[in-house]
């Protein structure tokens, strides 16, 4: 019985971190859908979100509820600057060049954080409390539970926005066919900027949640690699794929981490990634691209 209980606890923790993975993957998907750019700097934007919150809440001792929106806005600002200053100029270049630009961007962001805050890991001011939550007999860490709920709510809001909000519809139209969307009067360049701003803001928000659980460090951008696995498994342009694959990868990481040891986590997730690329390169729910001469 206690084995089963333990298994359920591990699985719940896995779902919790899976929800964070889904949220980060959503940032990937949003940017990819609108601009066809795989933004490898999402992990670093997430880290910037954590550090912005740290600077505002601990450094300037602003109240938490002011610091959170400001940190998200800071992430959005990064997105806006990057899109306007760099990605817009790279329009029409090969996808690999744009991908490498985001790799370079990640390096710049890590360097900036180390420059300003140093390399030591830090803990964020706590705003969630730490008393554990019990679901029946099952113990769940409070922070993971809150993160799960927040991530679920944010994702739900996104789904509603995609469906009913004009901007969301414009984004889906742009993703389907840029030229057609443009001739229907949709401001496609505006959609590009919007996607980057919202995507990077989402990543910054995920960074604050992640920082609450594990603290912040310049190396936390590595979380972006796990999220990368999620988007490949789920399909680069599929929101539903990001959700399901996020929870799935979260569970796999929790199970392998607990039953085999922490060092097996990455091997298993990246093993799944390579297997997925061999079997279904466009992911579970991604659109299959057909290449014509």
């Amino acid at each position: 019985m206690s084995d089963l209980l333990f298994f359920i606890e591990v699985s719940l923790a896995g779902l919790g971190s899976g929800a964070l993975l889904s949220l980060t993957a959503l940032a990937f998907v949003l940017i990819y859908k609108a601009t066809r750019v795989i933004n490898l700097a999402v992990g670093e934007t997430l880290m910037m979100g954590g550090y912005f919150f740290f600077a505002l809440a601990a450094g300037m001792s602003l109240p938490v509820w002011v610091a959170i929106p400001l940190a998200i806005a800071g992430g959005g600002l990064i997105g806006a600057i990057v899109e306007r200053g760099i990605i817009r100029r790279m329009l029409g270049e090969s996808p690999i060049s744009v991908f490498m630009v985001t790799v370079g961007l990640g390096s710049v962001l890590v360097g900036l954080v180390e420059f300003i805050w140093g390399t030591d890991p830090r803990s964020l001011p706590d705003f969630m409390g730490s008393a554990p939550i019990f679901l029946g007999e099952v113990y769940v860490s409070r922070k993971i539970a809150i993160s799960f709920v927040v991530a679920a709510v944010v994702i739900a809001i996104f789904l509603i926005l995609f469906r009913y909000w004009r901007g969301g519809v414009a984004l889906r139209a742009t993703a389907t066919d840029q030229a057609a969307a443009y001739s229907c009067g949709i401001n496609v360049p505006g959609v590009f900027s919007l996607a980057w701003i919202i995507g990077c803001g989402t990543a910054a928000g995920a960074g604050m949640l992640l920082g609450q659980i594990g603290g912040i460090a310049p190396t936390m951008g590595a979380f972006g690699l796990s999220a990368l696995v999620v988007v490949i498994v789920g399909g680069l342009d599929s929101v539903a794929g990001a959700l399901i694959a996020g929870l799935f990868i979260g569970l796999v990481e929790a199970w392998t981490g607990t039953y085999l040891g922490g060092e097996y986590k990455l091997v298993f997730t990246f093993g799944i990634l390579i297997l997925m690329l061999m079997i279904r390169p466009y992911g579970l729910f991604g659109t299959t691209e057909i290449e014509r001469l």
């Binding site: 795989i38 760099i86 100029r89 790279m90 270049e93 996808p95 690999i96 060049s97 991908f99 490498m100 630009v101 790799v103 370079g104 961007l105 990640g106 390096s107 710049v108 962001l109 890590v110 360097g111 900036l112 954080v113 180390e114 420059f115 140093g118 390399t119 690699l225 990368l228 696995v229 490949i232 060092e263 097996y264 990455l266 091997v267 990246f270 093993g271 990634l273 390579i274 690329l277 061999m278 390169p281 290449e291 001469l293």
Partner: protein
């Protein structure tokens, strides 16, 4: 002004160096390389050896990414395979260093072929991500296969011995590394005068068209991976003899990004580009170090800021080159050459 360079034979048309000016420049380069170790001090010799290693590895990646169009972020992991092979052979078998280097290259080539298998199904970004995955899995083996790799502590490497002399000083290693690197660059340049190299270029330009033209994609893509990883393996072997210890931290994903950045900054699909790019990216951190040393009397903690500044500069260079000069340093060299070709007429 260059006038009338009509070639009468195909052989002359394909020649690597077609004009007297190019031969003269090559001669000057060879003389400089031979004279350098007698002039430079130990620190610059250290850098010269490092440049030679990076040139070898970047040229290998250029064959794969620049000429075959298969983007790989696994070059660091392939180097690690070569480095670990050399370290293991040196510790357990004691074969001569030349055999070790070739064995390191061969094993890396084998691993490269294995890693290259997804390239048959996916390309572009997806392949880049698959190679990230492969290098993370290789990293896992380096850390956990302790009986061979020494776990996270790594293994120490005995110095290379050449007819009983131990090659330990940078002066001695220079004479080992620079000729090997030069030979590898020459090999890469010649590769693209052959059927195989031309097939690689055809695959890069349009792989489906290449297949229609009768180039078996399976064989040639894997061959490109094999050659590129062989270069990485030999470079990794030299790295092991240079730093004399190999551990999992030596070859992280950052290392792979470094080589891809070197190829991009230098110029993809240009042998000259790979060489200049590797030299440039190796020397920039050192230039920054001089800058920080000059600033140190005025800034209180300049030394601790060096590493972040390097990280920012590294990323900034990648972005700047891709946005402003996508063809890389090789294009700048071409521009200078064009200027002199047309010199008295175009100002």
């Amino acid at each position: 002004m260059r006038i009338a360079t009509a070639n009468e034979t195909y052989l002359a048309d394909e020649a690597l160096l077609s004009t007297r000016t190019q031969w003269a420049w090559m001669g000057i380069l060879a003389l400089v390389l031979i004279a350098a170790p007698f002039v430079l001090n130990n620190y610059w010799l250290y850098l010269a050896c490092l440049v030679a290693i990076n040139v070898a590895s970047a040229t290998g990646l250029n064959i794969l990414t620049g000429y075959t169009g298969l983007v790989s972020l696994g070059q660091g992991a392939f180097m690690a395979v070569g480095a670990y092979t050399v370290a293991w052979l040196e510790a357990n078998v004691g074969t001569p260093f030349f055999v070790n280097l070739v064995a390191g290259g061969a094993l890396a080539a084998l691993v490269g072929v294995f890693v290259g298998i997804p390239s048959l199904r996916v390309k572009g970004l997806y392949l880049a991500i698959a190679t990230i995955g492969a290098s993370i899995i290789l990293q896992f083996f380096f850390v956990n296969w302790s009986s061979v790799t020494g776990g996270s502590r790594g293994i120490n490497v005995a110095p290379a011995t050449f007819f009983g002399t131990q090659l330990t000083t940078y002066f001695q290693l220079y004479w080992l590394f620079v000729p090997i690197a030069a030979l590898m660059v020459l090999g890469a340049a010649n590769l693209f005068r052959t059927r195989v190299g031309r097939a690689f270029i055809a695959i890069r330009d349009r792989d489906i068209s290449a297949e229609v033209l009768g180039i078996p994609l399976l064989r040639y893509k894997l061959l490109s991976f094999a050659i590129s990883s062989f270069y990485a393996g030999v470079a990794g072997g030299m790295w092991a003899y240079f730093f004399r210890s190999v551990s999992p931290e030596s070859f992280t994903i950052v290392e792979s990004i470094f080589y891809l950045a070197a190829v991009i900054v230098g110029g993809m699909g240009s042998i000259l580009g790979g060489v200049i790019g590797a030299a440039f990216m190796t020397l920039v951190p050192e230039i920054l170090r001089f800058g920080v040393e000059i600033a140190s009397p005025y800034v209180s903690n300049a030394a601790t800021l060096l590493s972040p500044i390097r990280t920012v500069a590294f990323g900034g260079l990648i972005i700047a080159f891709l946005v402003l000069e996508p063809q890389g340093l090789a294009e700048i060299v071409q521009r200078i050459r064009r200027f002199f070709h047309l010199w008295p007429f175009k100002k």
